[in-house]
Symmetry: C2
Subunit: 320 residues, 2 copies
């Protein structure tokens, strides 16, 4: 088991550090935010504000480097990786994969980079909000591109160690999917919160479950939501267009025929598909990561809603 060096000690980075330590790995970390470093130190972790020193140690120990900083800070941290650990096994946890992959290719071309994204979060942030159990039972995307899957297996093992199951896919397919199920929800939540509040104190006094649920993520930190959604611009635009088209069609049907049936039935089918995807029976399959077309097999698994649940040598056990 490789050691783990985490750069960035907020909610996600702090949780990765804790979860890797819980799994018995040697871990250290660094962050520019002195309050996160102070809090992590107080909790007994080996963390510092000197990112360069943490990365040099990672290079010496052949550790996995996990970048857990916001997308807006990725370029600066990649510059430090290029300087101090240019050939490390590298992953990230940011919410878009194509823009990060492109930057890594440009700034740290010799790193063994595998993009990652744990699908979990919180409206809270910072070290104190982190939890070793944050990833238990969660999906963790690990991008499987063609080529040697050895680094992929390293990162997948870290995610499995952290209690997650691994969803393999491509960077582009990831970005298109999260535009629909993570970034669009944040935009619609903001629209709903804003239109609701325009109704004044009476509307706020009457707001119950549907409004509270629908606006929860609008209460999160605006700078994080802005960076996340803007960073996935290319994939988010067509998702917003689909939503605009459907909302416009609902508006037109309500105005002309008085019916919202098509909209509501379509939404009900979507909600049913989500519920079924969480409860359906799954078959177990095995994928040999050293075999031919293994990356393609992994991506196909992900496209079918499957997940890797264990790794034994080069053999991945998956549920599909």
């Amino acid at each position: 088991m490789r050691d783990v060096c985490v750069v960035g000690l907020g909610l996600i980075g702090g949780s990765v550090l804790r979860a890797a330590a819980r799994a018995g790995r040697k871990v250290w970390g660094a962050a520019e935010a002195p309050e996160d470093v102070a809090a992590a130190t107080a909790d007994g972790f080996d963390v510092h504000t000197d990112v360069g020193a943490a990365l040099r140690r990672a290079a010496e120990q052949d550790a996995i480097v996990v970048l857990a900083v916001p997308l807006t800070a990725i370029d600066a941290v990649l510059g430090a990786v290029a300087e101090h650990a240019p050939r490390c096994v590298l992953t990230d946890v940011t919410s878009v994969k194509r823009p990060v992959s492109e930057r890594v290719g440009r700034l740290v071309p010799n790193a063994a980079f595998v993009g990652g994204h744990p699908m979990t979060g919180s409206t809270r942030s910072g070290w104190a909000a982190g939890d070793a159990a944050l990833f238990d039972g969660a999906a963790w995307v690990i991008c499987a591109e063609d080529g040697d899957l050895t680094p992929w297996a390293e990162i997948a093992r870290l995610a499995l160690d952290a209690g997650a199951h691994v969803v393999p896919t491509s960077a582009a397919e990831h970005d298109a999917a999260v535009a629909r199920i993570s970034h669009l929800p944040h935009i619609l939540s903001a629209v709903l919160a804003s239109v609701g509040a325009q109704g004044g104190p009476l509307a706020m006094a009457l707001a119950a479950g549907s409004f509270t649920d629908g606006t929860r993520v609008a209460g999160g930190r605006p700078e994080l939501t802005t960076a996340m959604t803007e960073g996935n611009r290319e994939a988010l635009l067509p998702a917003i267009d689909e939503a605009l088209g459907m909302l416009g069609a609902a508006r037109g049907a309500l105005a002309s025929t008085g019916s919202l049936r098509a909209t509501i039935m379509s939404g009900h089918r979507g909600a049913t598909e989500l519920a079924q995807s969480r409860t359906r029976e799954r078959a177990e399959v095995r994928i040999d990561l050293a075999g031919p077309e293994a990356a393609h097999a992994l991506r196909t698994l992900g496209a079918q809603g499957g997940r890797v649940t264990a790794l034994d040598g080069t053999v991945a056990t998956a549920a599909v």
Copy 2:
């Protein structure tokens, strides 16, 4: 305390029956759905499938009649009220108030009608989903129109007995507010569930908190959601238009400048206003329901986000 006759024994009607009984009132009910009647009978309640008989008993006992049927069934039940209890003290619990008020005025002009709407619900339905505690701490709108407030006080007392606080407003203001904070959330939830599910099994596998929260109400019974939203067409159209305008502006800004800041900041302000409306300090005021302009004072209280918390004779204690 007047007796209470509830027509319709689903989630809301069943809960009103239980809550009124919990408060020590004599209650009986009727419903056309034999499964709800059988379940309520098994729970020891005095309920029947003969709606006419229940209404005649209400007329004899001068009981409050609570209509707890969907909007689509209101006309038929109002016909029965006109036949069996045309002068009763009458309220309803449906999610739109202007359309119901208009129908009552046409079909049961001599009833002492006061429109009501408890702001609570569930994605479950039927007698079994009901709960005597469903209204505890919830807002219950009781429309306060000009004129004698004696029937208003009767219905407000029932809502207070059921554990709710009473929000007084006009039918039109109610309908405009719920279009924003209840009906628009259902439409946006349907749009989100549909666009998300279009992403296929991968998108469903990656869906986490923001998608789950944002699509929860899309999983409710389509026929109830359809009846509720279509029934508030007049007020819902401008709310959808506001959402379309804001979503279109977000789309345009993302495409042209790459920025979603205005949208996300506006949503964050809305979420903050909701949170503040729930935690702010409130001042206590008193309104004499027998005084001049009392209905206007009640509606002003509601427009300010205030609520009636107790009734003593004709004096309402309110928090604003």
